[in-house]
């Protein structure tokens, strides 16, 4: 594979001002269009999963539905609740939106391209600490949600905002730990260098024949990939982790009191965050903008010019499909289950996995004594984990004996009540047992 067209860290920061302007406007437009498209895409996919057509009235196959919804929101009344903290209520959606947009600035969308004769990487910019910028923007975006919930001066938004904050910071820990293994393998935190590091596959001897494995990190670092994706779903407050807006408990969560364009901004920020975590997942684990292996063998030019934008978008859309798929399939978790999963499952697995990756990499380059010491250490760790594995707490089975109620209180049916079959079920069973007899016979 040709690495020549892959941009290096030194290629960034030399753009003329009008190139920067074009890229900034381009990224902005890309994100807004992706948001409008993703809302339509999600509703369509969930619709098909539930045997409905989904939106199909506005524009061809309903494509303009989300644009119409956005315009409609702009012409709705902007309500400022009496108890709201005016300034914070006003600024909270702005914080969310700005952080969501800024996080996308380091995503590599492609290799070197030429824009009006200027050769430049198809990426707004890149830094030695690029991935840290995404995490920082994600962290600052939480302020928008928690301040919006607090400033509404209402019960449901306050609880929704707090839940959001607790959930996002918990899963940010898991997310931050899951990408350590990627930095270790790539030796860099710059997104373009991580993509370049995944470009070359490795030759492996499997059952006597040489097979070229793709260098994508989701194969080599599968646990990291899985933990990253799970925590990305938690981080973006998506189903099955959409507890901040659990409508059965909290109406709408932190944005209950928001209306009009302020609400639209929160919605925009949520969908941009979805696109951003999918794009980061593509960059870190799925080879970034590079075409998948079979295409590059048939067609040498697949990674040149503007084509990478297509591969990148397709990969992001596949990940977004998984988001929607999870929403269409899984029920919402309870809050205590959710926090337990984040802190007691994802964090320890992550720490052990980081040590495992580091140990294997050190052992591969070390002499035999060190290697045996490291493997011995792993064995001790394994024994320790098995010995100290937290035992399941014995839970008393709930008593089903009816409690003694005071005289005259409302009668409560016992827990083990067997409901008699409904007359309709009996009639259907009767008809099935004797198909020759008419069902209405007995009536």
């Amino acid at each position: 594979m040709n690495l020549a067209e892959s941009p290096k860290l030194e290629d960034f920061g030399h753009d003329v001002w009008w190139i920067i302007l074009i890229k900034v406007v381009g990224i902005f437009a890309f994100l807004v269009v992706m948001t409008l498209f993703t809302i339509w895409y999600e509703r369509k996919v969930v619709g098909r999963m539930q045997h409905r057509p989904g939106p199909n009235r506005v524009g061809p196959i309903g494509l303009l539905q989300s644009l119409a919804d956005g315009l409609k929101l702009a012409f709705k009344e902007d309500i400022m609740p009496k108890l709201a903290d005016k300034a914070v209520f006003f600024i909270a959606p702005v914080i969310s939106t700005v952080c969501a947009f800024t996080a996308f600035s380091i995503m590599p969308l492609g290799g070197m391209v030429s824009i009006f004769g200027e050769r430049t990487p198809l990426q707004l910019t890149d830094l030695p600490v690029a991935v840290l910028l995404v995490l920082a923007c994600g962290g600052l975006g939480i302020y928008g949600i928690v301040l919006g919930g607090w400033a509404s001066g209402s019960t449901y938004p306050l609880l929704g905002g707090l839940r959001s904050a607790a959930q996002m910071i918990s899963y940010e820990v898991a997310m931050g730990l899951s990408i350590v293994a990627v930095f270790m393998t790539a030796g860099s935190m710059s997104t373009s260098e991580i993509v370049a590091a995944q470009a070359n596959g490795s030759q492996q001897e499997i059952f006597g024949s040489t097979v070229t494995l793709p260098g994508w990190y989701f194969l080599m670092l599968l646990p990291s990939f899985l933990i990253y994706f799970i925590s990305a779903v938690g981080e973006t407050n998506r189903a099955p982790f959409d507890l901040p807006e659990a409508e059965s408990e909290l109406v709408g969560g932190f944005h209950t009191e928001y209306s009009s364009l302020k609400f639209a901004l929160f919605f925009l920020a949520e969908y941009i965050n979805m696109v951003t975590v999918s794009a980061l997942c593509t960059t870190l684990f799925l080879g970034g903008w590079r075409a998948p292996a079979p295409i590059t063998t048939w067609w040498a030019g697949a990674n040149e010019g503007w084509w990478p934008l297509l591969w990148f978008t397709v990969k992001v859309l596949i990940l977004l499909f998984v988001f929607v798929w999870l929403r269409g399939t899984l029920p919402r978790l309870r809050y205590d289950q959710f926090m337990r999963f984040g802190w007691k499952v994802l964090v320890p697995i992550n720490l052990v996995w980081i040590l495992l990756v580091a140990g294997v990499r050190v052992a591969a380059n070390a002499d035999n004594t060190v290697r045996y010491a490291i493997y011995g250490g792993f064995a001790v760790l394994l024994v320790g984990i098995i010995m100290f594995w937290p035992a399941k707490k014995q839970v008393e089975p709930a008593s089903i004996a009816p409690e003694k109620l005071p005289e005259g209180s409302f009668p409560i049916p016992p827990m083990d009540l067997v409901v008699p079959p409904s007359p309709r079920t009996k009639r259907i069973e009767h008809a099935a047992a004797a198909p020759s007899a008419t069902p209405e016979q007995g009536e």
């Binding site: 350590v180 930095f183 337990r340």
Partner: protein, 121 residues
């Protein structure tokens, strides 16, 4: 390294801020204004709203605890990143150091777990 790679980030930030501020400022102008006292009350599914949100602005102490745990682990992550980037150069020395560091944090983690700091109810 010069700061010029950071300039486009400022550009995107400025464009997003302009867009968001414009939207928030335009919202009261584009929409209708029909006064209704009920609209301005806190929304509580139709019942009389409580005078102060969630029991007088108080909320469970668990949220503070989660925030403190987050700080502990986030600082650990910040130490892990530079180590991970220069891992190949550090070799065995880096590995041993990190085992000691993660081991130390793990002791605190096990303590919090045993004391019930990770249980929600």
């Amino acid at each position: 390294m010069s700061l010029s790679p950071y300039v486009p980030i400022v550009g995107l930030f400025a464009l997003a801020a302009a867009f968001a501020l414009f939207s928030v400022a335009a919202a009261p102008l584009t929409g209708p204004r029909r006064y209704n006292r009920a609209k301005l009350d806190a929304y509580e599914c139709g019942i009389e709203p409580t005078p102060q949100a969630a029991g007088g602005g108080k909320f469970p102490v668990k949220f503070y605890l989660t925030a403190m745990l987050f700080i502990v682990f986030d600082i650990e992550i910040i130490f892990l990143y530079p180590w991970a980037v220069s891992f190949n150069a550090l070799g065995l020395f880096g590995f041993v150091e990190m085992v000691l560091f993660i081991g130390t944090v793990f002791v605190a983690y096990a303590y919090v777990w045993r004391r019930g700091g990770l249980d929600w109810d």
